[in-house]
């Protein structure tokens, strides 16, 4: 089974077996800490929380490659821009009129840590949690079914939409539509592609709405679930403790900032 637009990596691990809300709470906790605590703490969060969790979930390699792919462009541009344009502080190196400032580099490095911590916490969540399990957990906590449906179906419909667009392009080209050439030509070719795509999608939506109703989507009464999302007392306690710690961190941080 593959889930489009999802990083989910099926593994037999304790992290995978945790309740989705526990993992969501962890990701949220890491993100909050990274935002609230001094920037340099982000590296500690990454090393002491995310790396061990990723190893536990047996997705360390996947996490690093996904996180680096996204974070690296940010890191490079941050280093260049902050290093070159920082106004004050000691100069690390000078090349002609360009000077690299130490403080700028430090700022960039700490910001990269923040990005890395926040990004990798949510990548770790997606790697170890099926999107439908997460949506189920959230709807059991009061998220409207319609919103859960929209999120899940979007994952699946977009690839179908792309393949339909390709079918229409092929069909129109076989009827002699020129889709290549100059800019004006391409813009003119857009209309015969967009109109059938939009119209047929509207028809699809109508039929899919019927299909949903036929599957008792708006049936009154409580729904059940094929998945057994096992939640345990220790996990509940853990989530509440995370929330409590997060609150304490925020309060302490506000107080220390005031007194500073």
């Amino acid at each position: 089974m593959t889930i489009p637009f999802s990083l989910y990596a099926p593994r037999e691990s304790g992290l995978h077996k945790l309740h989705p809300l526990t993992k969501l709470a962890l990701a949220g906790f890491v993100a909050l800490c990274a935002l609230v605590l001094p920037r340099a703490a982000s590296y500690l969060l990454f090393l002491l929380l995310i790396v061990p969790l990723a190893l536990w979930g047996r997705v360390f390699g996947r996490l690093m490659s996904a996180a680096l792919r996204v974070a690296l462009p940010f890191a490079i541009s941050l280093l260049i821009i902050q290093g070159l344009f920082w106004q004050t502080g000691p100069i690390l190196a000078r090349v002609g009129p360009i000077s690299i400032k130490l403080d700028g580099i430090l700022f960039a490095v700490s910001t990269i840590g923040r990005i890395l911590a926040i990004l990798s916490s949510f990548v770790l969540l997606s790697l170890t949690t099926r999107p439908d399990a997460l949506m189920l957990a959230l709807s059991q906590r009061g998220l409207p079914d319609v919103i859960a449906y929209i999120i899940l179906t979007t994952l699946q419909i977009i690839p179908r939409f792309q393949s339909k667009a390709q079918t229409i392009i092929d069909a129109q080209r076989s009827r002699g539509l020129e889709t290549e050439g100059g800019l004006l030509h391409r813009i003119r070719a857009l209309l015969p592609l967009v109109v059938p795509l939009v119209l047929s999608s509207i028809v699809d939506i109508e039929e899919r709405a019927i299909a949903l109703e036929a599957r008792a989507f708006s049936h009154p009464g409580t729904k059940t679930s094929l998945f057994d999302l096992s939640d345990s007392l220790p996990e509940r306690i853990f989530r509440w403790s995370l929330l409590a710690i997060a609150l304490i961190i925020v309060v302490v941080r506000i107080l220390t900032l005031r007194s500073a």
Partner: protein, 282 residues
């Protein structure tokens, strides 16, 4: 099970009546096929029986439709969903997209109905086995072929065990083997679970072999109603453009050429045809 009284309907924004004065009763466990030319109102009747008319498609509705004890116009689609199942024409658009595997897709309707987990699992496995999809339970529903998606749509409805099942051209994408499987499943549902089945179908040989009853519709009106043999061999059915089975045509030709006794009733199934040519009266 199904009780329709003087039903008329016209779609909002379209002139003319889609259904005119339909009165119809169907007992439990009957497999009734609807035939008729394109635009006769077959799909409209399907929607009216399942509540999508008047709840989804707006228009002017007259008369009453009662299905498994519910007044369709008075009940919400959510209430009707457990009682009436519908499989519509385009198999691709009947995949909800809410679930990632074939197994979960079939389970989706049962989850919405609040069926306990153990029962969901056994019912889904059963309907996947019935429709020959059990080997694909772990695949993405979107990765299936048209015919497999069509069987998936049927499996999803069977699993919900509605008292009334309405199918609008459920075999349009199926090859003869798939068609036979689907008709076999429908026959078994009617016999074993006493499901009332309304089937819109163009494949007349299959209709003739499996239906308890055949209704012909033209321009929104019922023009013939009876056994497959009565309805499908009538001159009327040729006139309205539905045509006849190959078996009926062969027998008609044989009679025209005076190869057989002209008194025998025209056949619609293979067994009847053999008897017809052997000039036996069953």
């Amino acid at each position: 099970m199904i009780d329709v009284q003087n039903l008329s309907f016209s779609y909002a924004g379209f002139p003319g009546m889609a259904l005119r004065g339909i009165t119809l009763a169907m007992p439990k466990g009957q497999l009734c096929s609807i035939v008729g030319p394109n635009g006769a109102g077959k799909s409209t009747l399907c929607y009216a029986l399942s509540g999508f008319i008047p709840h989804f498609y707006r228009g002017v509705l007259k008369g009453t439709v009662r299905v498994s004890g519910l007044d369709v116009a008075e009940s919400s689609l959510g209430e009707l969903a457990g009682a009436v199942g519908i499989v519509v024409q385009n198999p691709f658009n009947q995949i909800t997209g809410a679930r990632f595997t074939v197994f979960e897709e079939v389970a989706f309707g049962l989850e919405n109905l609040g069926v306990p987990r153990d029962e969901i699992i056994s019912r889904v496995a059963e309907s996947l086995a019935l429709t020959g999809l059990d080997s694909m339970h772990d695949q993405s529903p979107f990765a299936l072929s048209g015919g497999q998606q069509q069987r998936l749509a049927i499996a999803a409805m069977i699993a919900m065990r509605p008292a009334v099942l309405i199918l609008d051209e459920p075999t349009s994408q199926l090859d003869p083997i798939g068609t036979r499987e689907v008709f076999g499943v429908l026959r078994r549902l009617a016999a074993d679970q006493h499901t009332t089945i309304v089937l819109v179908e163009h494949k007349l040989e299959w209709v003739a072999a499996y239906s308890d009853r055949v209704i012909a519709i033209v321009r929104g009106q019922i023009v013939a109603d009876g056994t497959a043999r009565d309805v499908l061999t009538s001159d009327l059915i040729e006139e309205i453009g539905v045509g006849s089975t190959r078996l009926t045509r062969a027998a008609r030709l044989a009679r025209a050429q005076k190869l057989v006794d002209s008194q025998a009733a025209l056949p619609v199934t293979l067994v009847q045809t053999i008897d017809f040519f052997e000039q036996k009266d069953r």
